[in-house]
Amino acid sequence: MSTVKGSHILLRHRDNPALSTFEGYIKDGGFKTWKQVVTRMTPEAVVNEVFDSGLRGRGGAGFPTGLKWRFIDKNNWPHYVVVNADESEPGTFKDREIMESNPWQFLEGVMLTAYAVNANVAYIYLRGEFWMLAAELDKQIARLRKEKLLGMKLFGTDYELELHTHLGAGAYICGEETALLESLEGKLGQPRLRPPFPPSFGLYGKPTIVNNVETLANVPLIIEKGAKWYRKFGTEKSPGTKIFSLSGRVAKPGNYELPLGTTYGDLIMTHGGGIPEGRKIKAIMSAGASSTLIVADDKALATPMDYESVPALGAQLGSASIIVIDETVDLKWLVDKTVHFFNHESCGKCTPCREGTYWMNNITQRILHGEAEQKDVDLLKDVAMNMKGKCLCALGEFATEAVVSSIERFPKDFKIKAGAKTIAGELKVMHD
């Protein structure tokens, strides 16, 4: 039986570093589930177990995983599984740790998913920067083939499965599932129109399940220990654990795997060690650069991090990448950073995002360099508002979140003093 200590389902390697080796993973009972499933379970039973577990997509949207699998079109073949390992959201670094340190569990999750949706090929699309990681995964996949855990006629059945890695090359937009599929097809990584959704029209126009790394890493233990066991973690509507990537102005940044429903205060102040140098917390970004800024008051710090509670703060759980902002950070500077990011990453396909991020960046730069008037702040907000609800995919919408919420919730930061220049604030190297 796979060992689970505390709330580490995904970061089990932290308790048992041997899990990162094939032998160590086998010793802990790894791939027993795989054999069990291929030889004894129907694909439908696997889908049902995951459905019952209440697992929700960890990539950001939080869509019920089992339900997505049920949507796969059974009248159109072949089926594909594509793993979204394009982890590119500023503040997010959880998938990398899973794949680096607990790779076999991740791979087993991919394999189980492929079996569940009757796919014989799965692609792991990694962001290009995960070059070394992909090289390791390639070796691990080769090992699985050698161990006859992948390949033709698995365990004497007619089921066959191949895994392939595919490296991206530096484009945040490829984290959007349809842009990822376009990229994997060798085209520009620009999002497709939806509908149709990938479970009916995905890779090469075939039914495809696209899931995030963290989502799939949950699957082996859900199948092994059952949906009921999994539901012991987290809340009723947000079962399970979640890896929270904690970054920014916090004493102990890093990944923390905690049950869904843990409060912001608990994560930031207890696990993260609070704000260094005795500063006060000012704001929280709940889902990387794509999120609104939450005013970090007592209410916010007491809010449980789950799919239902965070929206009450006018924010989203998303990928649960928590960026902590302290009192010294001027939000004019912060907004310029996020807008610059989205301007750089806009694929250019739709007008509001292509032109809007560019325009907003012009304005934030003028604000940053003291060349703006108060009405430019109004214009900035208006441009952002004009983008809202008009973009082809979520990137354009995300680009407006920090802008609008900062201006609305932190008006003091946006009082323009004529000629006041750089306001990067007291930023100093925190690592020594």
Partner: protein
């Protein structure tokens, strides 16, 4: 068989084998990485060679080069130090770090050292936000992460490359 296909025959074959026979186009990204091994960028000839292998037009290959940041259409430094100065890293001093590295190397951000060895670029989030300042190094062969860096540690790394380069000569 064109030059690229001949030189990397085994690898090209292995790349094509990953994708269905009628979906050769999927191989464009891995093939571009193969091409960049030659001199760190994709030449016009590479475009034509890759286009021939995957049966598309050179324009379609060029589009891919232009869309993604890890492909380059002209030669720069042998080592590209790509510093993340996105929001989380910047809050942990990445901008100052980037500035320090550039000043010490005597170049602007995006510039290349006189010896053509190092290009320093500012890039977007590299999924190492808790280990800032950090950068990746893209050379002809690999992309390698360097985390929790200081200006000194970075300059030492550059020195190491310089010495290794001098030895080779």
């Amino acid at each position: 068989m064109n030059a690229l296909q001949t030189k990397y025959a085994k690898e090209v074959k292995a790349i094509l084998a990953k994708y269905p026979d009628d979906q050769k186009r999927s191989a464009v990204m891995p093939l571009l990485y193969v091409a960049q091994r030659e001199a760190g960028y994709v030449s016009r000839q590479h475009l034509a060679d890759i286009a021939e292998i995957i049966e598309v037009t050179p324009t379609e290959v060029a589009s891919i080069v232009g869309f993604y940041t890890l492909y380059h259409d002209q030669p720069e430094g042998k080592y590209r130090i790509q510093v993340c100065n996105d929001l989380p890293c910047a809050m942990r001093g990445a901008d100052a770090f980037l500035q320090g590295v550039c000043e010490n190397l005597g170049i602007e951000v995006g510039g290349t050292t006189d010896d053509g060895l190092v290009t320093v670029e500012a890039v977007m989030c590299l999924a190492a936000c808790d280990k800032a300042p950090m950068f990746q190094v893209q050379d002809y062969e690999n992309i390698t992460y360097y985390e929790e860096q200081t200006v000194d540690s970075t300059l030492k790394l550059v020195d190491k490359w310089r010495k290794a380069g001098a030895k080779k000569k």
